[in-house]
Symmetry: C2
Subunit: 301 residues, 2 copies
Protein backbone atom coordinates (compact mmCIF):
# COMPACT_ATOMS: atom_id res chain seq x y z
CA UNK A 1 0.00 0.00 0.00
CA UNK A 2 2.79 2.42 0.89
CA UNK A 3 4.75 1.60 -2.25
CA UNK A 4 1.83 1.98 -4.64
CA UNK A 5 0.07 4.68 -2.64
CA UNK A 6 -3.20 2.88 -3.18
CA UNK A 7 -5.68 0.99 -1.03
CA UNK A 8 -7.88 0.08 -3.98
CA UNK A 9 -8.47 -3.52 -5.03
CA UNK A 10 -9.64 -4.15 -8.58
CA UNK A 11 -12.41 -6.74 -8.60
CA UNK A 12 -12.48 -8.94 -11.68
CA UNK A 13 -15.93 -10.50 -12.18
CA UNK A 14 -15.90 -11.16 -15.92
CA UNK A 15 -19.26 -11.79 -17.57
CA UNK A 16 -18.90 -13.21 -21.11
CA UNK A 17 -21.79 -10.97 -22.17
CA UNK A 18 -20.14 -7.74 -20.96
CA UNK A 19 -16.47 -7.82 -21.90
CA UNK A 20 -14.28 -4.98 -23.13
CA UNK A 21 -13.70 -4.68 -26.90
CA UNK A 22 -10.25 -6.26 -26.44
CA UNK A 23 -12.06 -9.54 -25.79
CA UNK A 24 -13.67 -9.65 -29.20
CA UNK A 25 -10.46 -10.35 -31.08
CA UNK A 26 -9.46 -13.08 -28.66
CA UNK A 27 -12.86 -14.76 -28.88
CA UNK A 28 -12.81 -14.43 -32.67
CA UNK A 29 -9.34 -15.98 -32.71
CA UNK A 30 -10.83 -18.97 -30.92
CA UNK A 31 -13.62 -19.34 -33.49
CA UNK A 32 -14.44 -22.98 -34.01
CA UNK A 33 -13.44 -23.81 -30.46
CA UNK A 34 -16.06 -24.91 -27.92
CA UNK A 35 -18.13 -22.10 -26.38
CA UNK A 36 -16.27 -22.44 -23.08
CA UNK A 37 -12.88 -22.02 -24.75
CA UNK A 38 -14.11 -19.02 -26.75
CA UNK A 39 -15.55 -17.39 -23.66
CA UNK A 40 -12.41 -18.12 -21.64
CA UNK A 41 -10.23 -16.57 -24.34
CA UNK A 42 -12.41 -13.46 -24.27
CA UNK A 43 -12.45 -13.34 -20.47
CA UNK A 44 -8.67 -13.56 -20.27
CA UNK A 45 -8.15 -10.83 -22.88
CA UNK A 46 -10.67 -8.66 -21.01
CA UNK A 47 -8.98 -9.16 -17.65
CA UNK A 48 -5.54 -8.43 -19.08
CA UNK A 49 -6.85 -5.24 -20.68
CA UNK A 50 -8.49 -4.12 -17.43
CA UNK A 51 -5.30 -4.79 -15.47
CA UNK A 52 -3.25 -2.90 -18.05
CA UNK A 53 -5.64 0.06 -17.86
CA UNK A 54 -5.95 0.47 -14.09
CA UNK A 55 -3.04 -1.49 -12.62
CA UNK A 56 -1.11 1.69 -11.76
CA UNK A 57 -3.95 2.95 -9.58
CA UNK A 58 -4.55 -0.19 -7.50
CA UNK A 59 -2.63 -2.35 -5.06
CA UNK A 60 -4.25 -5.70 -5.79
CA UNK A 61 -6.69 -7.58 -7.97
CA UNK A 62 -9.55 -9.69 -6.62
CA UNK A 63 -10.60 -12.27 -9.21
CA UNK A 64 -14.08 -13.62 -8.50
CA UNK A 65 -13.45 -17.35 -8.83
CA UNK A 66 -17.06 -18.19 -9.73
CA UNK A 67 -16.80 -16.21 -12.95
CA UNK A 68 -13.86 -18.31 -14.17
CA UNK A 69 -14.96 -21.62 -12.71
CA UNK A 70 -18.25 -21.62 -14.60
CA UNK A 71 -16.22 -21.80 -17.84
CA UNK A 72 -14.76 -25.16 -16.82
CA UNK A 73 -11.15 -26.15 -17.49
CA UNK A 74 -10.58 -23.28 -19.98
CA UNK A 75 -11.91 -20.90 -17.33
CA UNK A 76 -9.51 -22.24 -14.74
CA UNK A 77 -6.69 -21.71 -17.20
CA UNK A 78 -7.89 -18.13 -17.76
CA UNK A 79 -7.89 -17.60 -13.98
CA UNK A 80 -4.30 -18.81 -13.67
CA UNK A 81 -3.20 -16.61 -16.60
CA UNK A 82 -5.05 -13.59 -15.18
CA UNK A 83 -3.28 -14.06 -11.86
CA UNK A 84 0.05 -14.35 -13.66
CA UNK A 85 -0.64 -11.11 -15.53
CA UNK A 86 -1.53 -9.29 -12.31
CA UNK A 87 1.61 -10.49 -10.56
CA UNK A 88 3.74 -9.41 -13.51
CA UNK A 89 2.17 -5.95 -13.09
CA UNK A 90 3.37 -5.89 -9.47
CA UNK A 91 -0.09 -6.40 -7.98
CA UNK A 92 -1.13 -8.55 -5.07
CA UNK A 93 -3.78 -11.19 -5.78
CA UNK A 94 -6.72 -11.79 -3.46
CA UNK A 95 -8.63 -14.82 -4.73
CA UNK A 96 -12.31 -14.33 -3.96
CA UNK A 97 -13.45 -17.94 -3.56
CA UNK A 98 -15.21 -17.81 -0.18
CA UNK A 99 -14.19 -21.41 0.42
CA UNK A 100 -14.93 -23.25 3.62
CA UNK A 101 -14.60 -26.89 4.61
CA UNK A 102 -13.09 -29.23 7.20
CA UNK A 103 -9.47 -30.32 7.74
CA UNK A 104 -8.14 -32.21 4.71
CA UNK A 105 -10.60 -30.50 2.38
CA UNK A 106 -9.74 -27.02 3.64
CA UNK A 107 -6.11 -27.97 3.17
CA UNK A 108 -6.85 -29.04 -0.41
CA UNK A 109 -8.51 -25.71 -1.21
CA UNK A 110 -5.63 -23.81 0.37
CA UNK A 111 -3.12 -25.89 -1.60
CA UNK A 112 -4.93 -24.94 -4.80
CA UNK A 113 -5.09 -21.21 -4.15
CA UNK A 114 -2.19 -20.42 -1.82
CA UNK A 115 0.16 -23.38 -1.71
CA UNK A 116 0.99 -26.49 -3.69
CA UNK A 117 -0.12 -30.12 -3.85
CA UNK A 118 2.17 -33.15 -3.60
CA UNK A 119 1.60 -34.99 -6.89
CA UNK A 120 1.71 -38.60 -8.02
CA UNK A 121 5.48 -38.36 -8.37
CA UNK A 122 5.80 -38.02 -4.61
CA UNK A 123 6.40 -35.08 -2.34
CA UNK A 124 9.99 -34.48 -3.41
CA UNK A 125 11.03 -32.83 -6.66
CA UNK A 126 9.06 -32.85 -9.87
CA UNK A 127 5.83 -34.21 -8.39
CA UNK A 128 4.81 -30.89 -6.82
CA UNK A 129 1.71 -29.32 -8.39
CA UNK A 130 1.89 -25.54 -8.01
CA UNK A 131 -1.24 -23.72 -6.85
CA UNK A 132 -2.49 -20.45 -8.27
CA UNK A 133 -0.04 -18.42 -6.20
CA UNK A 134 -2.60 -16.05 -4.71
CA UNK A 135 -1.52 -13.86 -1.82
CA UNK A 136 -4.80 -14.35 0.02
CA UNK A 137 -8.08 -16.24 -0.20
CA UNK A 138 -11.50 -15.23 1.09
CA UNK A 139 -12.97 -17.92 3.36
CA UNK A 140 -16.27 -18.64 5.09
CA UNK A 141 -16.35 -19.06 8.89
CA UNK A 142 -19.64 -20.97 9.30
CA UNK A 143 -18.03 -24.32 10.10
CA UNK A 144 -15.83 -22.93 12.86
CA UNK A 145 -12.29 -22.11 13.91
CA UNK A 146 -10.76 -25.50 13.14
CA UNK A 147 -11.70 -25.06 9.49
CA UNK A 148 -10.12 -21.58 9.37
CA UNK A 149 -7.03 -22.96 11.06
CA UNK A 150 -6.54 -25.54 8.30
CA UNK A 151 -6.59 -22.77 5.68
CA UNK A 152 -4.25 -20.60 7.76
CA UNK A 153 -1.69 -23.38 8.18
CA UNK A 154 -1.18 -23.68 4.42
CA UNK A 155 -1.26 -19.91 3.96
CA UNK A 156 1.37 -19.34 6.65
CA UNK A 157 3.69 -21.85 5.01
CA UNK A 158 3.46 -19.84 1.78
CA UNK A 159 3.44 -16.22 3.03
CA UNK A 160 -0.23 -15.92 2.20
CA UNK A 161 -3.19 -14.73 4.22
CA UNK A 162 -6.93 -15.10 4.57
CA UNK A 163 -9.90 -12.75 4.54
CA UNK A 164 -12.69 -14.23 6.60
CA UNK A 165 -16.29 -13.23 5.89
CA UNK A 166 -17.44 -11.29 8.93
CA UNK A 167 -20.28 -8.88 8.04
CA UNK A 168 -21.13 -8.94 4.36
CA UNK A 169 -22.70 -6.27 2.19
CA UNK A 170 -25.88 -8.05 1.03
CA UNK A 171 -29.36 -7.54 2.52
CA UNK A 172 -29.52 -11.22 3.57
CA UNK A 173 -26.63 -10.61 5.97
CA UNK A 174 -29.40 -9.72 8.42
CA UNK A 175 -30.74 -13.30 8.35
CA UNK A 176 -27.87 -14.85 10.24
CA UNK A 177 -24.85 -12.56 10.62
CA UNK A 178 -26.86 -9.94 12.53
CA UNK A 179 -28.66 -12.41 14.82
CA UNK A 180 -28.16 -11.49 18.50
CA UNK A 181 -26.52 -14.22 20.57
CA UNK A 182 -27.61 -15.30 24.03
CA UNK A 183 -24.07 -14.50 25.28
CA UNK A 184 -24.40 -10.93 23.93
CA UNK A 185 -23.29 -9.48 20.64
CA UNK A 186 -24.24 -10.83 17.24
CA UNK A 187 -23.17 -13.77 15.12
CA UNK A 188 -20.81 -11.55 13.14
CA UNK A 189 -19.26 -10.14 16.28
CA UNK A 190 -18.63 -13.69 17.48
CA UNK A 191 -16.95 -14.43 14.15
CA UNK A 192 -14.86 -11.31 14.59
CA UNK A 193 -13.65 -12.67 17.93
CA UNK A 194 -12.66 -15.97 16.33
CA UNK A 195 -10.83 -14.10 13.58
CA UNK A 196 -9.01 -11.95 16.15
CA UNK A 197 -7.87 -15.02 18.08
CA UNK A 198 -6.50 -16.69 14.96
CA UNK A 199 -4.95 -13.49 13.64
CA UNK A 200 -3.13 -12.71 16.89
CA UNK A 201 -0.97 -15.76 16.27
CA UNK A 202 0.76 -14.10 13.34
CA UNK A 203 1.27 -10.35 13.03
CA UNK A 204 3.70 -8.40 10.87
CA UNK A 205 6.61 -6.92 12.87
CA UNK A 206 6.41 -3.31 11.62
CA UNK A 207 2.76 -2.65 10.81
CA UNK A 208 1.41 -4.92 13.53
CA UNK A 209 -1.23 -6.14 11.08
CA UNK A 210 -2.18 -9.81 11.21
CA UNK A 211 -2.33 -12.28 8.32
CA UNK A 212 -6.01 -13.02 8.95
CA UNK A 213 -8.16 -10.22 7.57
CA UNK A 214 -11.90 -9.65 7.61
CA UNK A 215 -14.46 -8.99 4.90
CA UNK A 216 -16.75 -6.15 5.99
CA UNK A 217 -19.35 -4.71 3.67
CA UNK A 218 -18.92 -1.01 2.95
CA UNK A 219 -22.68 -0.65 2.75
CA UNK A 220 -23.13 -0.42 6.53
CA UNK A 221 -20.32 1.84 7.81
CA UNK A 222 -21.76 1.86 11.35
CA UNK A 223 -20.43 -1.70 11.67
CA UNK A 224 -16.87 -0.67 10.93
CA UNK A 225 -16.29 1.11 14.23
CA UNK A 226 -17.44 -1.90 16.20
CA UNK A 227 -15.49 -4.27 13.97
CA UNK A 228 -12.34 -2.22 14.51
CA UNK A 229 -12.75 -2.56 18.28
CA UNK A 230 -12.97 -6.32 17.97
CA UNK A 231 -10.28 -6.60 15.31
CA UNK A 232 -7.62 -3.96 16.03
CA UNK A 233 -4.96 -5.69 13.93
CA UNK A 234 -6.94 -7.11 11.02
CA UNK A 235 -6.87 -5.82 7.45
CA UNK A 236 -10.43 -5.07 6.37
CA UNK A 237 -11.45 -6.00 2.84
CA UNK A 238 -14.30 -3.64 2.01
CA UNK A 239 -16.66 -4.56 -0.82
CA UNK A 240 -19.86 -2.72 -1.64
CA UNK A 241 -18.56 0.66 -2.79
CA UNK A 242 -20.23 1.97 -5.93
CA UNK A 243 -22.89 -0.28 -7.42
CA UNK A 244 -24.02 -1.51 -3.98
CA UNK A 245 -24.24 1.99 -2.53
CA UNK A 246 -21.23 2.23 -0.20
CA UNK A 247 -19.12 5.43 -0.15
CA UNK A 248 -15.36 5.56 0.35
CA UNK A 249 -15.78 8.66 2.52
CA UNK A 250 -17.60 6.58 5.16
CA UNK A 251 -14.82 4.05 5.64
CA UNK A 252 -12.44 5.97 7.94
CA UNK A 253 -12.70 3.54 10.90
CA UNK A 254 -11.24 0.82 8.71
CA UNK A 255 -8.02 2.79 8.30
CA UNK A 256 -7.51 3.62 12.00
CA UNK A 257 -4.51 1.25 12.45
CA UNK A 258 -2.88 2.61 9.29
CA UNK A 259 -3.50 3.03 5.60
CA UNK A 260 -2.83 -0.64 4.82
CA UNK A 261 -5.50 -1.73 7.29
CA UNK A 262 -8.31 -1.10 4.80
CA UNK A 263 -8.58 -2.33 1.24
CA UNK A 264 -11.47 -0.98 -0.81
CA UNK A 265 -12.66 -3.32 -3.53
CA UNK A 266 -14.42 -2.05 -6.62
CA UNK A 267 -15.46 -4.12 -9.62
CA UNK A 268 -18.35 -2.93 -11.75
CA UNK A 269 -17.88 0.72 -10.82
CA UNK A 270 -14.41 0.61 -12.39
CA UNK A 271 -14.78 -1.92 -15.20
CA UNK A 272 -18.11 -0.54 -16.40
CA UNK A 273 -17.37 3.14 -15.72
CA UNK A 274 -17.74 3.88 -19.45
CA UNK A 275 -21.41 2.90 -19.26
CA UNK A 276 -22.02 6.05 -17.19
CA UNK A 277 -21.68 8.08 -20.38
CA UNK A 278 -19.17 10.76 -21.24
CA UNK A 279 -17.92 8.94 -24.30
CA UNK A 280 -14.59 7.79 -22.85
CA UNK A 281 -13.22 4.39 -23.84
CA UNK A 282 -13.61 1.59 -21.28
CA UNK A 283 -9.91 1.83 -20.41
CA UNK A 284 -9.91 5.62 -19.99
CA UNK A 285 -13.13 5.64 -17.96
CA UNK A 286 -11.92 2.78 -15.77
CA UNK A 287 -8.59 4.44 -15.07
CA UNK A 288 -10.30 7.70 -14.14
CA UNK A 289 -12.67 5.97 -11.73
CA UNK A 290 -9.86 3.94 -10.14
CA UNK A 291 -7.81 7.11 -9.66
CA UNK A 292 -10.83 8.86 -8.15
CA UNK A 293 -11.37 6.02 -5.65
CA UNK A 294 -7.65 5.91 -4.86
CA UNK A 295 -7.54 9.62 -4.06
CA UNK A 296 -10.75 9.47 -1.99
CA UNK A 297 -9.42 6.60 0.13
CA UNK A 298 -5.92 8.06 0.49
CA UNK A 299 -7.37 11.34 1.71
CA UNK A 300 -8.88 9.52 4.71
CA UNK A 301 -5.44 8.47 6.03
Amino acid sequence: VAERESQIVLGLDPDPLALWPEADDAAAGALGAAPAARAAAGVLAHCRAVIDAVGDAVVAVKPQVACFERLGAPGWHALAATIEHARAAGLLVLADGKRGDIDVTATAYAQGFLGATPGVGGAGGDGIIPGLGADALTVNPYMGLDTLRSFAAVGRAHDAGLFVLVRTSNPGAADLEDEPLARGGTVWERVAQLVAALGDEHRAPVSGLSDIGAVLGATRPEHLTRARELLPHAIFLLPGVGAQGGRVEDLAPAFAPGRAAGLVTASRSIVRAHEQGGGASPATAARAEAQRLRAAAWALG
Copy 2:
Protein backbone atom coordinates in the same frame (compact mmCIF):
# COMPACT_ATOMS: atom_id res chain seq x y z
CA VAL B 1 -33.29 -44.46 -3.87
CA ALA B 2 -36.21 -46.82 -4.47
CA GLU B 3 -34.86 -47.92 -7.85
CA ARG B 4 -31.35 -48.63 -6.65
CA GLU B 5 -32.37 -49.73 -3.15
CA SER B 6 -29.56 -47.68 -1.73
CA GLN B 7 -29.23 -44.54 0.37
CA ILE B 8 -25.44 -44.56 0.19
CA VAL B 9 -23.50 -41.73 -1.45
CA LEU B 10 -19.96 -42.48 -2.57
CA GLY B 11 -17.66 -39.62 -1.61
CA LEU B 12 -14.80 -39.03 -4.03
CA ASP B 13 -11.96 -37.12 -2.34
CA PRO B 14 -8.99 -38.18 -4.47
CA ASP B 15 -5.53 -37.61 -3.02
CA PRO B 16 -2.77 -37.98 -5.63
CA LEU B 17 -0.68 -39.77 -3.00
CA ALA B 18 -3.33 -42.42 -2.23
CA LEU B 19 -4.86 -43.57 -5.50
CA TRP B 20 -5.90 -47.08 -6.51
CA PRO B 21 -3.47 -49.09 -8.69
CA GLU B 22 -5.60 -48.29 -11.76
CA ALA B 23 -4.26 -44.73 -11.49
CA ASP B 24 -0.64 -45.77 -12.00
CA ASP B 25 -1.05 -46.69 -15.66
CA ALA B 26 -2.90 -43.47 -16.42
CA ALA B 27 -0.27 -41.35 -14.69
CA ALA B 28 2.51 -43.29 -16.43
CA GLY B 29 0.76 -42.74 -19.74
CA ALA B 30 0.97 -39.02 -19.04
CA LEU B 31 4.70 -39.21 -18.36
CA GLY B 32 6.42 -36.08 -19.59
CA ALA B 33 3.30 -34.02 -18.96
CA ALA B 34 3.24 -31.39 -16.23
CA PRO B 35 2.73 -32.70 -12.68
CA ALA B 36 -0.84 -31.38 -12.62
CA ALA B 37 -1.75 -33.23 -15.82
CA ARG B 38 -0.16 -36.45 -14.56
CA ALA B 39 -1.96 -36.19 -11.24
CA ALA B 40 -5.26 -35.38 -12.94
CA ALA B 41 -4.90 -38.39 -15.24
CA GLY B 42 -4.30 -40.57 -12.20
CA VAL B 43 -7.18 -39.02 -10.26
CA LEU B 44 -9.62 -39.58 -13.13
CA ALA B 45 -8.57 -43.21 -13.59
CA HIS B 46 -8.92 -43.73 -9.85
CA CYS B 47 -12.39 -42.20 -9.68
CA ARG B 48 -13.58 -44.24 -12.66
CA ALA B 49 -12.27 -47.43 -11.06
CA VAL B 50 -13.96 -46.62 -7.75
CA ILE B 51 -17.27 -45.89 -9.50
CA ASP B 52 -17.00 -49.11 -11.49
CA ALA B 53 -16.33 -51.08 -8.30
CA VAL B 54 -19.07 -49.74 -6.05
CA GLY B 55 -21.56 -48.03 -8.38
CA ASP B 56 -24.09 -50.85 -8.03
CA ALA B 57 -24.28 -50.36 -4.26
CA VAL B 58 -24.79 -46.60 -4.18
CA VAL B 59 -27.33 -44.06 -5.38
CA ALA B 60 -25.03 -41.10 -5.96
CA VAL B 61 -21.46 -39.87 -6.00
CA LYS B 62 -20.26 -36.82 -4.10
CA PRO B 63 -17.09 -35.45 -5.68
CA GLN B 64 -15.17 -33.20 -3.32
CA VAL B 65 -14.49 -30.23 -5.58
CA ALA B 66 -11.38 -29.10 -3.65
CA CYS B 67 -9.54 -32.29 -4.57
CA PHE B 68 -9.98 -31.64 -8.29
CA GLU B 69 -9.68 -27.86 -8.19
CA ARG B 70 -6.21 -27.97 -6.64
CA LEU B 71 -4.97 -29.67 -9.83
CA GLY B 72 -5.90 -26.60 -11.90
CA ALA B 73 -7.40 -26.83 -15.38
CA PRO B 74 -6.50 -30.55 -15.78
CA GLY B 75 -8.21 -31.18 -12.44
CA TRP B 76 -11.36 -29.41 -13.58
CA HIS B 77 -11.34 -31.58 -16.69
CA ALA B 78 -10.98 -34.67 -14.47
CA LEU B 79 -13.95 -33.49 -12.40
CA ALA B 80 -16.13 -33.10 -15.50
CA ALA B 81 -15.08 -36.53 -16.80
CA THR B 82 -15.69 -38.14 -13.39
CA ILE B 83 -19.19 -36.68 -13.31
CA GLU B 84 -19.82 -37.95 -16.84
CA HIS B 85 -18.69 -41.43 -15.82
CA ALA B 86 -20.98 -41.41 -12.79
CA ARG B 87 -23.98 -40.30 -14.82
CA ALA B 88 -23.28 -43.00 -17.41
CA ALA B 89 -23.40 -45.49 -14.51
CA GLY B 90 -26.89 -44.21 -13.61
CA LEU B 91 -25.78 -42.37 -10.49
CA LEU B 92 -26.87 -38.99 -9.21
CA VAL B 93 -24.12 -36.42 -8.72
CA LEU B 94 -23.92 -34.23 -5.62
CA ALA B 95 -21.12 -31.72 -6.12
CA ASP B 96 -19.54 -31.00 -2.75
CA GLY B 97 -18.33 -27.44 -3.26
CA LYS B 98 -19.82 -25.68 -0.21
CA ARG B 99 -20.12 -22.52 -2.27
CA GLY B 100 -21.67 -19.33 -0.95
CA ASP B 101 -21.82 -15.79 -2.32
CA ILE B 102 -24.19 -12.97 -3.22
CA ASP B 103 -26.58 -12.58 -6.16
CA VAL B 104 -24.70 -12.55 -9.48
CA THR B 105 -21.80 -14.50 -8.00
CA ALA B 106 -24.05 -17.18 -6.52
CA THR B 107 -25.72 -17.35 -9.90
CA ALA B 108 -22.32 -17.82 -11.56
CA TYR B 109 -21.44 -20.72 -9.24
CA ALA B 110 -24.82 -22.31 -9.82
CA GLN B 111 -24.41 -21.92 -13.58
CA GLY B 112 -21.10 -23.74 -13.36
CA PHE B 113 -22.32 -26.67 -11.30
CA LEU B 114 -26.04 -26.99 -12.01
CA GLY B 115 -26.92 -24.87 -15.02
CA ALA B 116 -25.22 -23.22 -17.97
CA THR B 117 -23.61 -19.87 -18.80
CA PRO B 118 -24.54 -17.62 -21.73
CA GLY B 119 -21.30 -17.32 -23.71
CA VAL B 120 -19.71 -14.69 -25.90
CA GLY B 121 -21.82 -15.87 -28.83
CA GLY B 122 -24.93 -14.57 -27.09
CA ALA B 123 -27.70 -16.26 -25.17
CA GLY B 124 -29.21 -18.09 -28.14
CA GLY B 125 -27.77 -21.18 -29.75
CA ASP B 126 -24.12 -22.14 -29.85
CA GLY B 127 -22.95 -19.62 -27.27
CA ILE B 128 -24.23 -21.59 -24.29
CA ILE B 129 -21.50 -22.96 -22.04
CA PRO B 130 -22.73 -26.12 -20.34
CA GLY B 131 -22.08 -26.52 -16.62
CA LEU B 132 -20.97 -29.71 -14.92
CA GLY B 133 -24.49 -31.10 -14.89
CA ALA B 134 -24.55 -31.97 -11.21
CA ASP B 135 -27.91 -32.86 -9.64
CA ALA B 136 -27.16 -30.90 -6.49
CA LEU B 137 -24.56 -28.63 -4.93
CA THR B 138 -23.64 -28.18 -1.29
CA VAL B 139 -23.87 -24.53 -0.24
CA ASN B 140 -22.97 -22.42 2.80
CA PRO B 141 -25.71 -20.36 4.52
CA TYR B 142 -23.56 -17.79 6.37
CA MET B 143 -24.42 -14.88 4.08
CA GLY B 144 -28.18 -15.38 4.37
CA LEU B 145 -31.31 -16.43 2.57
CA ASP B 146 -30.93 -14.13 -0.44
CA THR B 147 -27.70 -15.91 -1.33
CA LEU B 148 -29.34 -19.34 -1.07
CA ARG B 149 -32.23 -18.09 -3.16
CA SER B 150 -29.87 -17.15 -6.01
CA PHE B 151 -28.48 -20.69 -6.05
CA ALA B 152 -31.97 -22.20 -5.85
CA ALA B 153 -33.25 -20.16 -8.80
CA VAL B 154 -30.66 -21.65 -11.15
CA GLY B 155 -31.10 -25.12 -9.66
CA ARG B 156 -34.86 -25.02 -10.08
CA ALA B 157 -34.50 -24.06 -13.74
CA HIS B 158 -32.37 -27.18 -14.27
CA ASP B 159 -34.10 -29.78 -12.06
CA ALA B 160 -31.28 -29.59 -9.56
CA GLY B 161 -31.25 -29.09 -5.80
CA LEU B 162 -29.11 -27.80 -2.97
CA PHE B 163 -27.81 -29.21 0.27
CA VAL B 164 -27.31 -26.38 2.74
CA LEU B 165 -24.77 -26.77 5.55
CA VAL B 166 -26.80 -26.88 8.76
CA ARG B 167 -24.92 -28.72 11.51
CA THR B 168 -21.60 -30.10 10.33
CA SER B 169 -19.57 -33.04 11.63
CA ASN B 170 -16.36 -31.28 12.69
CA PRO B 171 -15.44 -30.31 16.28
CA GLY B 172 -15.32 -26.62 15.29
CA ALA B 173 -19.05 -26.73 14.57
CA ALA B 174 -19.39 -25.83 18.24
CA ASP B 175 -17.72 -22.44 17.66
CA LEU B 176 -20.58 -20.90 15.72
CA GLU B 177 -23.23 -23.40 14.62
CA ASP B 178 -24.01 -24.39 18.21
CA GLU B 179 -24.09 -20.84 19.62
CA PRO B 180 -27.38 -20.15 21.44
CA LEU B 181 -29.35 -17.23 20.02
CA ALA B 182 -31.06 -14.54 22.04
CA ARG B 183 -34.36 -15.48 20.34
CA GLY B 184 -33.90 -19.10 21.50
CA GLY B 185 -32.44 -22.05 19.69
CA THR B 186 -28.99 -22.15 18.15
CA VAL B 187 -27.39 -20.75 15.02
CA TRP B 188 -27.83 -24.08 13.23
CA GLU B 189 -31.49 -24.27 14.22
CA ARG B 190 -31.99 -20.80 12.77
CA VAL B 191 -30.34 -21.97 9.56
CA ALA B 192 -32.66 -24.98 9.56
CA GLN B 193 -35.63 -22.59 9.68
CA LEU B 194 -34.30 -20.62 6.71
CA VAL B 195 -33.75 -23.87 4.79
CA ALA B 196 -37.28 -25.02 5.62
CA ALA B 197 -38.77 -21.76 4.35
CA LEU B 198 -36.88 -21.97 1.07
CA GLY B 199 -37.56 -25.68 0.65
CA ASP B 200 -41.30 -25.35 1.19
CA GLU B 201 -41.49 -23.43 -2.07
CA HIS B 202 -40.71 -26.54 -4.08
CA ARG B 203 -41.62 -30.06 -2.98
CA ALA B 204 -41.93 -33.24 -5.03
CA PRO B 205 -45.55 -34.30 -5.60
CA VAL B 206 -45.26 -37.93 -4.49
CA SER B 207 -42.55 -38.06 -1.84
CA GLY B 208 -43.29 -34.59 -0.47
CA LEU B 209 -39.54 -34.02 -0.21
CA SER B 210 -38.24 -30.56 -1.03
CA ASP B 211 -35.41 -29.63 -3.39
CA ILE B 212 -33.46 -27.90 -0.62
CA GLY B 213 -31.71 -30.47 1.55
CA ALA B 214 -29.56 -30.12 4.63
CA VAL B 215 -26.09 -31.30 5.54
CA LEU B 216 -26.14 -32.79 9.03
CA GLY B 217 -23.11 -34.49 10.50
CA ALA B 218 -23.65 -38.13 11.45
CA THR B 219 -21.26 -37.69 14.36
CA ARG B 220 -23.90 -36.14 16.64
CA PRO B 221 -27.08 -38.16 16.11
CA GLU B 222 -28.89 -36.30 18.94
CA HIS B 223 -29.17 -33.37 16.54
CA LEU B 224 -31.03 -35.40 13.93
CA THR B 225 -34.26 -35.64 15.90
CA ARG B 226 -34.37 -31.88 16.40
CA ALA B 227 -33.36 -31.23 12.80
CA ARG B 228 -36.16 -33.49 11.58
CA GLU B 229 -38.70 -31.45 13.60
CA LEU B 230 -37.47 -28.26 11.95
CA LEU B 231 -37.07 -29.77 8.50
CA PRO B 232 -39.83 -32.34 8.01
CA HIS B 233 -39.50 -32.33 4.20
CA ALA B 234 -35.75 -31.94 3.66
CA ILE B 235 -33.40 -34.62 2.44
CA PHE B 236 -30.55 -34.96 4.92
CA LEU B 237 -27.05 -35.48 3.56
CA LEU B 238 -25.20 -37.25 6.34
CA PRO B 239 -21.40 -37.17 6.34
CA GLY B 240 -19.22 -38.40 9.17
CA VAL B 241 -19.90 -42.14 9.10
CA GLY B 242 -16.78 -44.29 9.41
CA ALA B 243 -13.51 -42.38 9.72
CA GLN B 244 -15.15 -39.57 11.71
CA GLY B 245 -16.88 -41.95 14.12
CA GLY B 246 -20.55 -41.79 13.06
CA ARG B 247 -22.59 -45.03 12.91
CA VAL B 248 -25.32 -45.77 10.37
CA GLU B 249 -27.40 -47.42 13.08
CA ASP B 250 -27.81 -44.05 14.84
CA LEU B 251 -29.33 -42.26 11.86
CA ALA B 252 -32.94 -43.46 12.04
CA PRO B 253 -34.49 -39.98 12.60
CA ALA B 254 -33.13 -38.89 9.24
CA PHE B 255 -35.25 -41.51 7.48
CA ALA B 256 -38.52 -40.72 9.26
CA PRO B 257 -40.19 -39.13 6.18
CA GLY B 258 -39.10 -42.05 4.00
CA ARG B 259 -36.02 -43.89 2.86
CA ALA B 260 -35.03 -41.19 0.37
CA ALA B 261 -35.02 -38.57 3.12
CA GLY B 262 -31.57 -39.58 4.29
CA LEU B 263 -28.42 -40.01 2.22
CA VAL B 264 -25.40 -41.45 3.99
CA THR B 265 -22.09 -40.33 2.54
CA ALA B 266 -18.94 -42.39 2.92
CA SER B 267 -15.57 -41.68 1.34
CA ARG B 268 -12.46 -42.99 2.99
CA SER B 269 -14.26 -45.87 4.69
CA ILE B 270 -15.19 -47.24 1.25
CA VAL B 271 -12.28 -46.16 -0.94
CA ARG B 272 -9.63 -47.16 1.59
CA ALA B 273 -11.40 -50.23 2.98
CA HIS B 274 -8.53 -52.42 1.76
CA GLU B 275 -6.19 -50.68 4.19
CA GLN B 276 -8.07 -52.37 7.04
CA GLY B 277 -6.31 -55.60 6.14
CA GLY B 278 -7.81 -58.88 5.00
CA GLY B 279 -5.85 -58.93 1.76
CA ALA B 280 -8.73 -58.01 -0.56
CA SER B 281 -8.09 -55.77 -3.57
CA PRO B 282 -9.17 -52.12 -3.25
CA ALA B 283 -12.17 -52.79 -5.53
CA THR B 284 -13.30 -55.90 -3.66
CA ALA B 285 -12.86 -54.33 -0.24
CA ALA B 286 -14.64 -51.15 -1.33
CA ARG B 287 -17.58 -53.03 -2.80
CA ALA B 288 -17.95 -55.09 0.38
CA GLU B 289 -17.92 -52.00 2.59
CA ALA B 290 -20.40 -50.17 0.38
CA GLN B 291 -22.74 -53.17 0.43
CA ARG B 292 -22.43 -53.37 4.22
CA LEU B 293 -23.36 -49.69 4.60
CA ARG B 294 -26.21 -50.06 2.14
CA ALA B 295 -27.70 -52.98 4.08
CA ALA B 296 -27.26 -51.22 7.42
CA ALA B 297 -29.05 -48.09 6.22
CA TRP B 298 -31.80 -49.96 4.38
CA ALA B 299 -32.55 -51.99 7.51
CA LEU B 300 -33.49 -48.75 9.31
CA GLY B 301 -36.36 -48.04 6.89
